[in-house]
């Protein structure tokens, strides 16, 4: 039996993935999580693509995979340093410290703050919402803008690539998940508001995962979602509170001026690395700000710092399944290195 103690920072899909493998291999595992409940961004989502599985169920089954761990909820790590003997000293917000022999960092990403794109009117016009807001509305946690429910023929616009592929916002990278999220949410909106019409403005539709392309087809075939290739450049509010949108249909080369009752911004994923990870533990970053493992191919979970492993979307946008698998992979890597 190992008596080594491992710290996992973050209890989203990747952190839980890592914790499950480590705990099942008999290691002493401490999981530090800034929120009260494990699950990470899963807790902000209602249903997951591509098969509309409740996100809650997924979070529960992931947590159920882990065995005995020492869970520290609501614990936003203040700093981590590495001793000469190879141990990590973890400083908790209350100043208490804990020591670990190895560390898996699974701190995840940050959702792009849409108010940074002022021209899209988020935070200014009440009927401009983000994909994250919409998920809460669909889950019933937050009400839809009241008037929407009373409208007969709703026009809903979906705007892709908000804060992704956007050099101006410092995010040249593609967030990968928002394309299929937009498709999923379009279908959900159509189910919720049968009289609605949904138009999605995209730059490129990147349907890379199993079942995504099928979902994209379903949205067009069964739910009459109209996909228009072109970026929304500006949003204004009409006297009636509707949203006037300017876009370009780039495939036809024609300008679009249209009005919508609701605009959903597909916000991207941004890097959100703590300072100590870079400055004190020497983790390198890619241009977009995400953490970089030793390479992108065979050692993406390893870092130049012995005993420090990276897991999940702290390295770049990942789906739930990918993050979970990556967390488990990081843990396997760690086990291999311990037994070496």
């Amino acid at each position: 039996m190992h008596t080594k103690k491992i710290a996992v920072i973050g209890a989203g899909p990747a952190g839980l993935g890592a914790a499950s493998v480590l705990s099942r291999n008999g290691l002493r595992v401490s999981v530090f999580h800034r929120e009260a409940a494990a699950g990470g961004h899963l807790n902000d989502w209602a249903w997951l693509f591509p098969r509309f599985v409740p996100a809650r169920d997924v979070a529960v089954s992931m947590a159920a995979e882990t065995r005995q761990v020492d869970f520290h909820p609501g614990c936003h790590i203040a700093g981590v340093s590495r001793h000469a003997n190879g141990q990590f000293k973890i400083v908790m917000p209350d100043g208490q410290t804990e020591v670990a022999d190895a560390l898996v960092y699974a701190g995840g990403f940050r959702v792009f703050d849409a108010s940074r794109k002022e021209e899209l009117g988020y935070g200014i016009y009440p009927r401009v919402v983000t994909s994250a807001d919409l998920e809460k509305m669909l889950a019933g946690e937050v009400p839809f803008p009241v008037e929407l429910l009373q409208q007969q023929a709703l026009r809903i616009g979906v705007v892709h690539c908000v804060g992704s592929r956007d050099e101006k916002s410092g995010n040249r990278h593609c967030s990968r998940m928002c394309c299929v999220t937009g498709v999923k949410q379009s279908i959900e909106l159509r189910k919720r508001f049968p009289n609605s019409r949904v138009t999605a403005f995209y730059m490129d539709m990147r349907m890379f995962g199993n079942g995504y392309e099928e979902l994209y087809l379903e949205a067009q075939r069964d739910w009459q979602v109209l996909f228009v290739r072109g970026r929304v450049s500006e949003v204004a509010e009409s006297d009636e509170g509707r949203l006037r949108v300017k876009a370009e249909d780039t495939l036809l080369g024609r300008p679009i001026r249209d009005e919508f009752d609701l605009l959903v911004l597909m916000v991207g994923m941004e890097a959100d690395l703590p300072k100590w990870l870079i400055e004190d533990l020497g983790v390198k970053q890619i241009d977009a700000g995400f953490a970089r493992g030793n390479d992108e191919l065979v050692a993406s979970n390893r870092t130049p710092t012995r005993g420090l492993y990276l897991a999940g979307s702290c390295k770049g946008p990942l789906s739930v399944a990918e993050a979970w698998n990556d967390g488990q992979a990081a843990a396997q890597q760690l086990l291999l290195d311990l037994n070496r």
Binding site: G230, R231, V232, A247, T250, G253
Partner: protein, 105 residues
């Protein structure tokens, strides 16, 4: 409409290289069309289209895609990829012969 092959004589070459040297940011364009959508001038003006035409070596067509531009620079503020659209427009329209001197007197 004219049908053409894809031998693309001049694509990314010759005059286009000159323009690239003048305004290197034009290679960042992902033709999202935000510039055309925001355009205050006319439905026909499109920097994205001009850059697309440039990439295919169609210099004259690229210039035509900018006819009527008001140089207001809204496209520059909208462009997500940091293309200096006004630099592209200036390079294409103001001074095709940028090495030439403009005598002040």
């Amino acid at each position: 409409m004219q049908v053409r092959d894809l031998s693309m004589a001049g694509a990314w070459g010759d005059s286009v290289d000159v323009l690239k040297a003048i305004e290197p940011s034009l290679v960042n364009c992902i033709t999202c069309g935000g510039c055309a959508a925001a355009c205050a001038a006319s439905a026909n003006v499109s920097v994205a289209k001009a850059i697309l035409l440039l990439r295919r070596g169609l210099l004259a067509d690229a210039r035509a895609a900018l006819e009527g531009c008001l140089f207001c620079g809204k496209c520059r503020f909208v462009c997500p990829m940091g293309v200096n659209t006004r630099g592209v427009i200036a390079a294409l329209t103001f001074s095709p012969d940028s090495s030439g001197n403009i005598l002040h007197q």
